[in-house]
């Protein structure tokens, strides 16, 4: 029974991933919709990363002793200045580890 439920769940997640890339789906994306959709990347990713920074156990945390906040600011600055993905991740994760496990403990 649980196996069947899991298969149904899998069909739901696959459907949401696959539906709109299926070529036979009668859907033509016009130039306006295409411009609208061009904002999907930055907005979805931002809607995922900003809550990671500010929401902790269901509560808003904008305290300066929040290691996520400090490290995110570093990440934004490094990304803006260098545009280098690896450098941004490397430096900000280092700052995060430093803040979380050494400075604010």
């Amino acid at each position: 029974m649980t196996v069947l439920t899991i298969i149904l769940l899998a069909m739901v997640t696959f459907l949401t991933r696959y539906l709109f890339i299926h070529p036979k789906l009668p859907l033509n994306i016009g130039p306006r919709l295409e411009r609208f959709l061009s904002y999907s990347g930055p907005t979805v990713l931002t809607a995922i990363w900003v809550p990671i920074i500010f929401v902790e156990h269901g509560k808003f945390n904008s305290d300066w002793s929040n290691p996520y906040l400090i490290a995110a600011i570093i990440a934004i600055i490094v990304a803006k200045v260098t545009r280098n993905v690896y450098l941004t991740i490397g430096l900000s994760v280092s700052v995060f580890v430093l803040c979380k496990f050494y400075l604010f403990t």
Binding site: A10, L19, R35, P42, T46, W49, I52, A72
Partner: protein, 242 residues
């Protein structure tokens, strides 16, 4: 191109896909272990516990549905909840449709199956999924994420009880760092800036409301804001030039 040169280009694409996904792979370790061990704790068999990551392959859907199945929630509620959580993928399919619908059935089905938040994050390039090399890149990135997810789920299933709660370690900061590194350089004009500010603010508000549909709602409203701003700027420019 000689066949040797071709192979080395494809090899490079595979390697780059693997390395680009690595930070995101590390970031989800605690969640993989949590999904596996939670399934066992809630009375799933080992086979069922592994079927979840193998077929459903979605962290948030797995965590929520394990709890719902364990509390004997009706199948309709369960599937509807999974649908809502998973509905953000519709945006990915829509955004990538013009490129991914061109792929052969094999590529489309496999890359479609692998199209997680993480793979979408690495799909922002103009030529993503265009041509064999880019498909190999996506396969390595998405495929390594899949294998990685299976491994940590399996560890949770077999040894979940000996691990402390790793979700407190803050490994998900790596997700934030990666997404910041991808998004910030893409903010090249006012409409994009407006759209990400709206996305960030609304996502936090909706998350505090514990609203399952919040992520999609925040993204769609933000996309509208960005697009409206773009139209407004165009109209103002036209007004000035007339």
């Amino acid at each position: 191109m000689s066949s040797n040169a071709k192979t080395s280009v494809l090899n490079q694409a595979l390697k780059k896909g693997f390395w680009d996904m690595l930070p995101l792979n590390l970031a989800v370790i605690p969640w993989g272990i949590l999904c596996g061990s939670l399934a066992i704790q809630r009375g799933f068999s080992e086979f069922e516990s592994m079927l979840m990551p193998a077929l459903v392959f979605a962290g948030a859907v797995q965590l929520v549905s394990i709890e719902l199945i364990a509390s004997n929630t009706s199948i309709i509620t369960l599937l509807f909840t999974a649908f809502i959580i998973s509905s953000r993928h519709f945006l990915y399919g829509l955004a990538l449709r013009h490129k991914m619908k061109q792929l052969t059935t094999k590529w489309r089905l496999s890359l479609g199956f692998l199209l997680t938040d993480e793979l979408f994050a690495l799909s922002g390039h103009k030529r993503s999924f265009v041509g064999k090399v880019r498909c190999y890149y996506a396969l390595a990135a998405g495929g390594s994420f899949y294998v990685n997810w299976l491994i940590w789920n399996a560890l949770g299933v077999t040894a979940g009880n000996i691990f402390p709660d790793l979700t407190e370690l803050g490994l998900e900061f790596a997700i934030a760092a990666t997404f910041i590194a991808i998004v910030i350089p893409a903010v090249v004009n006012l409409p994009t800036l407006v759209s990400i500010v709206v996305a960030g603010v609304l996502a936090v508000v909706f998350e505090l409301w514990h609203w399952q549909f919040g992520l999609v709602a925040a993204a769609v409203i933000a996309m509208f804001s960005g697009y409206s701003c773009e139209l407004l700027l165009k109209r103002m420019n036209r007004g000035l030039s007339e």
